[in-house]
């Protein structure tokens, strides 16, 4: 059965390693924070200028001066630090952030990503996404395998304006975990009960399937 959003986040959380500095984008990526494995110490970066992001505040304890990059009220954890936006993107650009998780409208088999603009519709802007994808050492995309029309979001070539090129390393969808390799998408795991055939049918870009593809474990 296909994963729900929380399960996608939970699967991504398995990629975390102790000591990682992690930037989580808006949407499903934000949920990853709820599934950090026990014994793993991870520091969350919010690109508006915070290391050490904590959970939402308790009701009545919201602080207007303390928000994340999604403009949500948050808290900090012990060891946190605040800094300006130039330093924040400086540390991103310098590769100090170990893992970036973000959403996407489209990803292609080279690792190009499109997630900021739909021509003809409203343009909201790229925010920090272009900086993140241009600089991050390790980018995992969390997204649905297909768009609301049922069309594959894993493409031979992106159709929407790009956010960055050859940057995505891994994709976790409701159906599968895939790596981006020199030869295209490589299927690593499938959601429990989801067939390889279904993943093949919903992947428009080149898909490499080798041997038995195991089911995800949580």
């Amino acid at each position: 059965m296909a994963l729900d959003k929380n399960q996608i986040a939970q699967r991504i959380a398995k990629e975390l390693k102790d000591g990682y500095y992690v930037n989580l984008g808006i949407g499903i990526p934000t949920l990853v924070a709820n599934y950090i494995p026990a014994g793993i110490d991870v520091v969350l970066q919010s690109e508006n200028g915070l290391l050490g992001m904590g959970p939402f505040p308790f009701e009545g304890e919201e602080d207007a001066d303390l928000i994340n990059a999604g403009k949500q009220t948050i808290t900090t954890v012990p060891g946190s630090s605040f800094f300006d936006s130039a330093m924040s993107f400086g540390m991103i650009r310098a590769g100090k952030v170990d893992l970036t998780v973000l959403g996407a409208m489209e990803v292609n088999e080279n690792g190009d990503i499109a997630n900021w603009k739909i021509p003809g519709k409203m343009v909201k802007g790229m925010g920090g996404a272009m900086d993140l994808v241009a600089s991050a050492k390790n980018i995992i995309v969390a997204m649905m395998h297909t768009n609301p029309k049922g069309e594959s979001k894993l493409l031979p070539a992106c159709t929407l304006p790009l956010t960055g090129t050859r940057c995505v390393k891994k994709i976790v969808t409701e159906l599968a975990v895939l790596d981006i390799t020199d030869k295209g998408f490589k299927l690593l795991e499938r959601a429990p009960g989801v067939s390889v055939e279904e993943i093949i049918s919903k992947t428009a870009g080149k898909l490499i399937v080798e041997g038995d593809v195991p089911e995800m474990e949580f």
Partner: protein, 232 residues
């Protein structure tokens, strides 16, 4: 040397039509509420505004958009604003969208006297159109120019009469960068103290960058996304 102004109206009195102004803040966090209100009251028009966001309907830079005071916005993200969208689609408003880190670093470059910086953000995208590209160590970078703004308007938590500023939490964001970048920098603060009261080790913006300072009034500090959890 007196940098202290009575209020926002006095501090922004010489900002006139067609000025290029920077406005600190991220979303509605750390925005110069008093100066925005004074600019709306003054009715100055055809402004070019450099600010990460464009406020929301009825708050922040949204108030200036309602009065059609803005000719051009230079921002990284402009969602959450119906009036903005209307003006953009009708052609009343010009918008230049640039990556958030590029925006921040172009401010810093101005404050640090660096005419240009290199960033990989936007390589391979439409942001790179018409810009100089250059390879260092096998990686492609865009050359982006420092901003050149007439005024920078920032909001700090505390400030002193010499113009030294301290920010609170994530309300820091673009404020110290823009404070460095303006030909004239105007700072509004929640608390204005005599020079010497702030710890010199804790100052985020040294007073040399700040030309005018005043104590703001009635900060609303509207929250854009009130997300909470329940106490168990």
């Amino acid at each position: 040397m007196n940098k202290v102004y009575h209020n926002a109206a006095a501090a922004i009195a010489d900002i006139s039509d067609n000025a290029i102004i920077m406005l600190g803040g991220f979303g509605l966090c750390g925005i110069p509420e008093n100066c925005i209100a004074a600019l709306v009251k003054k009715g100055v028009k055809h402004l070019t505004c450099i600010s990460n966001n464009a406020g929301v309907d009825g708050f922040g830079i949204g108030l200036m958009l309602e009065q059609k005071q803005v000719k051009k916005m230079i921002s990284s993200y402009v969602g959450e604003n119906a009036e903005f969208e209307r003006q953009l689609l009708s052609g009343e408003l010009e918008v230049e969208l640039i990556p958030q880190g590029t925006l921040a670093t172009r401010c810093m470059a101005a404050g640090y006297g660096m005419p240009a910086i290199f960033t990989p953000a936007g390589i391979g995208t439409e942001v790179a159109d018409g810009k100089e590209m250059r390879v260092f160590n096998g990686k492609e970078y865009l050359m982006e120019l420092a901003f050149d703004a007439d005024f920078a308007i920032v909001k700090a938590w505390k400030g002193d009469t010499d113009g030294n500023l301290v920010y609170k939490e994530t309300a820091r964001n673009f404020n110290p960068l823009m404070a460095m970048a303006g030909k004239i920098t105007i700072a509004e603060v929640e608390e204005l103290v005599p020079a010497g009261e702030l710890d010199p080790d804790h100052i985020h913006t040294p007073g040399i960058y700040v030309h005018r300072i005043f104590k703001g009034e009635h900060y609303e500090k509207r929250i854009e996304q009130r997300t909470v959890r329940k106490k168990i």
